[in-house]
Symmetry: none
DNA sequence: TCCTAGTGTTCACTAGGAGCGAACATTCAG
DNA sequence: CTGAATGTTCGCTCCTAGTGAACACTAGGA
């Protein structure tokens, strides 16, 4: 990512348009001149923090989202077949691979789970399928010696990831941090930080995993 | 709330101190003068958006939290010895009760968790504290006979809730559905549906819980 | 003891950009 | 053809983001 402040303008415009407000209306409510709003949207000028905050409040979005660049959401994979052999390399998150039957309430027993087994010895089993599409709640298993990406590369994707170790031990590399997750330990991290997992132990690693992509809608 | 930008300074200072960085060190990394950082912290000056963003990144917090006024984070739970008695009725989600130190990466070991114990025999222990404020990842314990709300009422709140049973068995009432969650079973549901939990068994129930409220901002 | 190296703070100053206003080009309705 | 919307551009002004030097304080050496 380059200078995120560069994207602030376009992002703001995008959100404003979504709300249906005109540029002049925004200017009026912010109590600044229309020309200035235009300049901000076209990155010809930058607002002060106070104005920035006022903008966020007016559009009723958290300040954060004004900094998100919008074109980081290219879903690469088609969603066809629920249970199968999948190569990890093609997909960023399981969301794309699992089937889409999702409800407001979902209860799953351990013998009846949708599962994906990767070639590398990694398994995902879905623990619940709710209507939330940007959420994955699953049990993951890493066989001894297996790793998240067979080619050894780091992954990065939008959203957050949370994990709890049920048994075994997993080595997590997150950014330049290497940490081990033995039984009972847990982690959470911004998954836009490059990361990788590997089971260096002799027993399988089992954990509860929660991947929470950032909510965002189709163009 | 008055001008939230007023609180930016103190808030920044609070977070900086928590990270253990010195003012001059922050200045060095931001590539601005120490005096300026001091002025920002004392609300004698305001940073530009670019600087604001740089600050947030340096402290690895989302820009949002820099705007949170500090007096609602009067951390009821200290982060050294994080166990406290709280009445469930006052709070909708643990987010409100837990302390606010949140980072991009969070690793927690089982002996060092922030915890809240409710009067009714229910305990929440936080499994990760990331920058996501609308997310709670926790281990919950229901002592035998305990229930989510002592008065027996149903709860409903925005967002979704996901759970996995580690041991014991929990009875969940979700809408007009009553289901039991024994070891290894899992659920996920829209938490705007009125719901209630109860441990009818003779052993404590332990589970991994994930509550994912919808993003929403201060009053 | 004095001396350094660290901490944070104040104040006068300046350069640059936040923000303005007038004039511009469009579009759509009457 | 007006009139009232829309968004954009270009100078200009003045405010303020950010500087640098000097301040006061504390904690260690030697």
């Amino acid at each position: 990512m380059r200078d995120p402040v560069e994207y602030l303008g376009p992002r703001l415009k995008e959100i404003r348009l979504k709300t249906g407000l005109s540029l002049r209306e925004v200017a009026r409510q912010l109590d600044v001149s229309p020309s200035f709003v235009s300049q901000i949207e076209n990155s010809k000028s930058q607002p002060s923090v106070a104005t920035l905050y006022a903008i966020a409040r007016l559009l009723s979005v958290p300040v954060d989202v004004l900094f998100e660049s919008q074109w980081n959401g290219e879903s690469k994979v088609s969603n066809t077949n629920p249970v199968d052999q999948v190569s990890r390399d093609n997909l960023e998150t399981p969301t794309n691979a699992w089937d889409v039957s999702r409800a407001r309430i979902s209860a799953v027993n351990p013998h009846n789970r949708s599962a994906i087994t990767m070639d590398s010895g990694v398994t995902w089993e879905r623990l619940a399928a709710t209507a939330e599409t940007d959420v994955n709640f699953m049990e993951i298993v890493y066989e001894p010696g297996s790793e998240s990406n067979s080619s050894g590369e780091m992954m990065e994707h939008s959203g957050y990831e949370y994990g709890y170790s049920l048994e075994g031990e997993l080595e997590a590399t997150i950014g330049d941090l290497i940490l081990s997750i033995p039984k009972g330990h847990s982690i959470g991290f911004d998954s836009s930080i490059p990361h990788r997992f590997r089971n260096n132990g002799l027993v399988p690693f089992r954990g509860i995993w929660f991947v929470h992509g950032c909510a965002h809608e189709k163009p």
